[in-house]
């Protein structure tokens, strides 16, 4: 075998090995997390862990419900803010904006995606939290420090804007011109066409964008941690503090590892996060792929 062919052969094999290594890391994380959570799962049933609301590691109570609810609250608030805004923004970009504006705004949106999360956290502390505690809270007669699931949701919403807008713009672009022309030629206005035809036709893609944003939102750690108060309680309202899963891991890992099962409980939190995010990502990929096949 000549040297050149041997090099080709070696390259092919080693590339395959590297691929296998990088993929197996994901698997190893999953297996490792599962293995490390075993002690907790053996001492308590998984249903109890997921549905109990008392979290006191010192007494051996590991109820995950506050963290699950904290994550859901923050994510849900972020979606309520982000989905309508992004839908309208992407409709504007896809249907109304001139090419010049589009070429200016879309890269800007991607720059927004590149801002490190910690900066969003700082922005949240300096801007969102004071506004909530000084203006919006009092306006509803609520005394709050501002560090709340509401603040977390707002910061998170801003953080998922870029991914949502860029996917939604791509999705809206797949709607055939002729379909829009069909609606317009009946005398529909552009807005009627967008609302009744474009959005309806784009529903699966919009759904996929939302699901992808949810998986991003679930995992977002530092910015949310900085503004949402981190008290292990089930939030009862917008202005209550919450404690999302990623914040739990980031805040406590490495501390108090002497307490039995605490280590295992944090690993279980990580496993939970891993499974949820993996599931959502998978779901949105499936939807987007199906959409591409159709288009």
């Amino acid at each position: 075998m000549s040297w050149r062919l041997l090099k080709d052969f070696l390259f092919k094999k080693s590339a395959a090995v590297f691929l296998a290594v990088s993929l197996s890391v994901v698997l190893l994380i999953f297996v490792g997390l599962g293995y490390k959570s075993l002690p907790l799962l053996q001492s308590e049933s998984i249903i109890n862990i997921l549905t109990q609301s008392v979290w006191s590691p010192l007494k051996g109570n590991f109820g995950f419900l506050p963290f699950i609810m904290g994550t859901i609250w923050v994510t849900f608030i972020a979606l309520i803010i982000a989905v309508p805004l992004c839908l309208l923004a992407s409709a504007y970009l896809a249907e109304y904006a001139s090419d010049r504006l589009k070429n200016f705004v879309l890269p800007l949106v991607n720059v927004l995606a590149a801002i490190p999360p910690v900066l969003f956290g700082v922005w949240g502390i300096l801007f969102v939290v004071p506004i909530l505690s000084d203006y919006i809270g009092p306006a509803f007669g609520i005394t709050s420090s501002g560090y709340s699931v509401f603040a977390g949701g707002i910061v998170l919403a801003v953080m998922i804007f870029p991914i949502m807008i860029s996917i939604m713009v791509e999705v809206l672009k797949t709607i055939p011109e002729e379909l829009k022309a069909a609606s317009l030629s009946l005398g529909a206005t552009k807005w009627e066409t967008i609302k009744k035809v474009v959005f309806v036709k784009a529903k699966p893609g919009i759904f996929a964008a939302v699901v992808l944003a949810i998986s991003r939102a679930f995992g977002e750690t530092i910015a949310v941690l900085m503004v949402c108060g981190n008290i292990p309680q089930i939030p009862k309202g917008l202005f209550d503090a919450g404690y999302p899963l990623p914040a739990l891991i980031a805040n406590n890992f490495g501390e108090m590892m002497s307490i039995p099962l605490y280590d295992s409980a944090l690993m279980f939190a990580a496993l939970l996060l891993f499974v949820i995010i993996f599931g959502f990502n998978f779901l949105s990929r499936v939807i987007l792929n199906r959409l591409e096949e159709k288009a």
């Binding site: 069909a182 317009l184 030629s185 009946l186 005398g187 009627e192 309806v200 036709k201």
Partner: protein, 269 residues
């Protein structure tokens, strides 16, 4: 190759025009990204008859059709000069309202594009947009228009099924019904049978012939036999200019201009 200057002897053969045609085009010029697509178009389209626009591909016939309901100026880089009078009103005038103009015309595109909703809602879409809310009225509009296109008996039991379940020929008839439901006076067809099988094509052609008593119909087609089968008048467009306009049999059997002769005989495709 014919230069543009050779297309000057425009001949309009003995056509008796009504005083106010539904569509009158005056000095129309269209450029797209700086390219001159339509040049000095002047044309009165006869009422209550079928006029076919024929010509080689890329000659501007689809652009000409789309200037009639202002779908061209949705595209970017398009500049339209001159006027198109629909019922005497300049649709490119300052006060012209696009939705009102388009309501007067039904468009039948190359491929059927049913809206993402049920069969019933597809037909009711236009009337609803223009303010019809009454259920009974909507029901009767839908039934009437579906009967008009011969689709009623085929779909009356599944009006609320998705329109995409229909065959492509049925979809095209649905699109026609949808267009008729806004009570236009004009029907525009852009190679409306090019995606259809021969039987569906014949159905659509027969429908258009039936409808011409009540509507002014303008079709773009690249099929000469179709132009012969359905049209009363033919416009031959070449390189963005009208070469010849006249009664269908005159254009097809006794063309005056050299270019028309060559196109009709099949020398220019």
């Amino acid at each position: 190759m014919h230069t543009l200057s050779s297309i000057e002897t425009k001949k309009t053969q003995n056509i008796v025009m009504p005083s106010i045609p539904h569509i009158r085009i005056e000095n129309l010029n269209v450029t797209i990204d700086g390219r001159h697509i339509l040049k000095n178009i002047n044309l009165d389209i006869p009422n209550n008859s079928i006029t076919s626009i024929i010509g080689p591909s890329g000659c501007g016939k689809t652009t000409l059709l789309k200037t009639l309901n202002r779908l061209v100026d949705d595209a970017k880089g398009v500049e339209v000069n001159g006027s198109v009078l629909v019922n005497g009103e300049d649709i490119y005038g300052k006060d012209a309202e696009v939705t009102h103009i388009r309501k007067q015309m039904g468009l039948l595109s190359q491929k059927p594009f049913p809206l993402p909703m049920s069969i019933f809602d597809n037909v009711a879409y236009g009337p609803r947009i223009h303010g019809t809310r009454n259920k009974k009225v909507l029901n009767s509009i839908v039934e009437l228009q579906l009967r008009n296109v011969g689709l009623w008996d085929e779909v009356k039991d599944r009006l609320h099924a998705s329109a995409t379940q229909l065959s492509i020929g049925q979809q095209q008839r649905l699109c026609l019904a949808r267009g008729l439901a806004v009570e236009p006076e004009i029907i525009l067809g852009d190679e409306s049978t090019s995606a259809l099988d021969p039987i569906s094509t014949q159905t659509i052609e027969n429908l258009l012939v039936e409808l011409k008593d009540r509507y002014t119909i303008v079709l773009v087609t690249h099929i000469l036999r179709q132009a012969r089968r359905v049209s009363d008048y033919i416009v031959f467009v070449y390189n963005g200019e009208i070469v010849e306009f006249g009664k269908s049999e005159d254009i097809l059997l006794n063309p005056q201009h050299e270019l028309t002769q060559q196109y009709v005989k099949g020398f220019i495709a």
